[in-house]
Every structure is written in structure tokens, then in C-alpha cells.
Amino acid sequence: MSTTGYNESLLDPHAREARRETDKPAARRRARRRPEPFTIVSYIVVTLFGLFCLIPLWMIVAGSFTDETVLARQGYSLFPSPFSLTAYELLFGGQSLLNGYVASLFITLVGTILSVSGTATLAWVIARRLPWISRPLTVFAYVPMLFHGGLVPLYLLVTQVLSLSNSWFAVILPILLAPFLVFITVSFFRQLPEEILDAARIDGAGELRIFFQIVLPLSKPILAVLGLFYAVTYWNEWFMALLFVSDPDKYPLQLILQNLIANVTNATSLPGATAAEAAAPVYQLRFAMTVLTVGPILFAYPFAQRFFVKGITLGATKG
């Protein structure tokens, strides 16, 4: 036994615990009184980076509310003056915006449902460690992460073999399953408590019943992660649409935007061109369209963000 109280408290885990309890607030109080240089620098740098992330987006929002002639004369400003709703009136008056939303919503909703179902079912069969099935399936789903056929064969497959040109399924199907997300789901399924599944088996539940009534309800967190990742991918997808959709009535929002960039001066390609013809405020319309395209993501973001954090954290440790 040590003679001094000081040493004793160092050796005794309870005493150490207690000491930490009392020390911590003190340390924090000290830090609050005089923050260290690095902490101050951190606040400044993080704030600046936050502004760097937000300002470009805000400029688009401001631009969408600023009259085109003012934009051309005075350049961009952070606050729209005079305030103008011309672009939004044109967009909401025309048919293109509605068509674009219908297309994007269809692709996102149908795509996400198909993707999540496909990923979860395949992942469960792999996670189940069935002899003769799970191991080969793992390799089967892993190889495409290492090697893929590339753009040309895919293009020929979709247009020549499957004849999906101008169908929204041409946008959905090529990106339906992400092998990476399949494997993240597999590792989640393997962490489910085996006892619950065993209990169900003793009660005589079949494989399908176990999957639908026990595994899926227990897997809501990973299903949310999957759904959100796939949904954002589909909402932002424009390359597949660029390749396979040529009928302007079927353009998703991103492709309408892409066309607004590609044909800067071509007023006839603008949504709302019927209303405004050549005098259409090209830039203001573009910004308004951008705001309406990013809008839904921005709206869902506060609710969805924690699932994304969970997803990429899983991805970083498992992939």
C-alpha cells in the first residue's frame, strides 16, 4: 500500500475516475476563458470553408431572382435587386418543368424501390453463407468492381439488344445495383443477432418468412442508407439520360439543365420558350431551373444527413 494519498489515487481506478470527473469541467472552464490559437484558427478556417461551400450556391439563388438585364449590366450580387420572378413565372407557365419533374420523380422513385429490393435480397443470400451458393455469388458480385466492359458495349446493349432508347428504364437499369452497396449490406446482415433468427427457425418459420418478417424489420437503418444513396444517385443522374433519352418531353431535370448549358444562345430549347421566344432571359432561367433541381435535395437533406454519415462511415471501415 502506498503511503501518500497522491499515489494511491493514481493506482486506484475509482479514484482516477473521480479525479477525471472533477478535472474535466475545470479544463473546459479554462479552455473557455482563454482559447488556444489553434482552436481560434480552426473556427476561422472552418467558417471560411463553410462560406466557400455556400456562396456559389447562394449566388445561383440570388441570380435566379435578379432581372436578366441587371445581371448583364451589373454582374452578380449576393442580394437580388430589383427582385424579379420572371424566370419562375416562365418555368411554372411552361410544360417542360412539369415534364422534367415527372421524369425525375419516376426515375428516382421506381429506381430506388427496385435498387433497394435487388440489393437487399442479393445481399441476404450472400450473407446467409449457404454452401454452394453464397461463396460463388460473392465472387460473381465482386468481379464487376474490378473489371467492366465500358461505355460502348453498354451503349450497344441498351440501344440494340434491349431497345430501351427513350425509356426511363434506360436510365434506371444500367445503374440499378452498386456492388459496393451490396457488400455493405452483406456486412450489416451478418451482424444481426443470430439468436433471433434461430428462435424463428425453432418456431418453424421458413426462409422467406424469416427474411421478410424478421430480417427486413431489423434492418431499417441499412435500408434507409441504401434508399438515400440510390435516391440521390438517381436524382442527380444525367449521363445515362444524355446517352439514351433523346425525346425532349422525357428529359429528367438534370438533362434539361445540361441542355441549357450546351445551347446557351438557343432560346428555342429553353423551357418556357413558347411564352418568351427569343427574348427569354437565358441566364435567369438557368438559375431558376438549377434552384428547382437542387431544391428537393436541399429540402430532404436535414432529415437524411445522419443516414449518409452512417453509410459512409460503414463504407470507410468495411470497404
Binding site: 480552426s42 461551400c53 468492381m145 466492359g149 451490396v182 427457425r201 439543365l257 448549358i261 462511415t313
Partner: protein, 316 residues
Amino acid sequence: MQGKAIVPAALKRGPSSRDGLVLLLLAVPGIAWFAVFAYGPMAGLVVAFKDFNIRDGIFGSPWNGFANFRYFLTSGDALTIVVNTLFLNALFLSASLLAGLILALMLNEIRGSLYRRFMQSTIFFPYFVSPIVISIMLQVILSGVGGSGGALNNLLSVIDLPQPSWYTEPGAWPWILTIVKVWQLGGYTSVIFLAAITSISEEVYEAAAIDGASRARMALSITTPLLLPTLGVLLVLGVGRIFFGDFATIYAIVQDNGILFPTTDVIDTYVFRSLRTIGDFGTTAAIGLFQSVVGFFFVTAAVLVQRRFHKESSIL
């Protein structure tokens, strides 16, 4: 012996062959998708060895050996786009990892407050902005309405600096694209690093505090070294994908602006443009196959390195 007898028969026999069949049925949609959309295009790569025409189709067109590859490799574009792909990806990777690391270290200084959560959400958001929207943003900053000078040039004019016409300056674009990548991925990468930071024991910092270390010293001598394994994993994954350009972002920004091709054209954008403008399926498939094969070696090497040094983080 006795312990074994307690295990119910339903568990002891494991999945029966009937169960296996039912489960296989569950996997059929996934298997079908992989067969058609992942393995189908691999079979379609025979186009690279053919003088392709639509009438005869993929398998009916006449063979032409390595003519497609020869055409591409002697075209003079090959070296440019391969160098661009490697150079740009190396820039993007190092810049976004560095930015993510620094941001994570600094976010970690902002403790337990609402402000930290707000900032984290803010810098993570650009990850969800589509390439097309990024492209429009960049035009606001660099070119303005009708090329009247964007926000950046307005700023430069205030402090009397030259105002380049950015969309005709190929030399500036590797750096502009790198800044775009930092904007897009800085917050995302920092989230991964922050997750790793939370697993570092608080006691290490307490010990350092007792020894009189400053916050800056702790970040440099404790947090950073403990983040190296995470950095390594991300680096290896990035190097594995170094032969595949970020098509979406680059094409959305550069579009068909030929002036910028010398510094921004990567394999993926080149393939897409050849397909669209020349319509030469054989040659473009050959370039794609070349990319897939070289890419395969990079990815496989990356996977092997990762498994060697960081077994628990590998997928298989």
C-alpha cells in the same frame, strides 16, 4: 455430447436444399441484373476486335484483329488523355484527402456545439450537388452573363489584377478542377476522418494535456499519426481508381469546349466524344478495353495492398 443433444433439430441440420432453392429464388433478380448489365458488356467487348457496323450487329460484324487498337495508339491523342487522366486524378486525390484531413482536425477543435453540427452539414452538402449544377455555378464565378466577366473577375478588377478569360485558358484548368473537387469532396472526406477520430481514446489527450501539450501539438502529434491508417485506406482506394476519370464532373464542366481539351480531356470524356461525334464503335470499344485492362491491374493491386496491410477493412 449432452450439449449437442439440446440443440434443436431445426438448427442442427443447417439450411436444407429446399431452403437453398427458396433463397436462390430471392437472389434471381440480382443475379439476372449482374448477368445482363455487368457481364453482358464484358462479352460485348469483342466489338473492340471488329469492324463494327449496325447491320451485322455485335457478333456478325467482321473481325479486324488489333486494327482498332493500332488506330487509337498511333492517333497521338492516346498519350495526352492517359497523362491527363493520371495527372488530374493524382491532383484530385491528394487535394481532397489533404483538405478532408485538415477539415477533420479543425472540426474536432469545435467541441460539442450546435455550430459544429451546422458546419459539418454545410461542408458535407456539396457532395450531393450534381455535376451539371456545379458546372452552372462555375460559369457564374468564371464567366458571367454572356461572358461579361464572372464574380471572380469582378473581384480581381477591384484589386487591379489581370482578369483572364478563363474558358480559353487551358493551363488554369487542372487547378480549377482541383478546387472544384475540394469543394465537392472536402466535407465528405472529413466525415470519414472524423469517424476515425471519435475512436481515439480520450485518455491519450488527457495525458498530453497533463504534459502541457497545446491543442495544435495534439492535432499534429496524436490525431494525425492515428489517422494514417484511414488515410492509407482512402489513398489505396483512390489509386485503384486512378485510371478512371471523373467523367460526370469533367464533362459537365468542359462540355465540348475544344480549347480546354489539351489539359482536361481524360479517357472517359474522349471515349464518350468519339462515340457521339465519330460514331466509331470499334475504336471507342478498343479504348474502353484498354482502360478496363490497365484499370484492372491498378484496382487489383490496390485490393491486394489493402488486404495485406489492413485485413479487417477489406470486403472479402
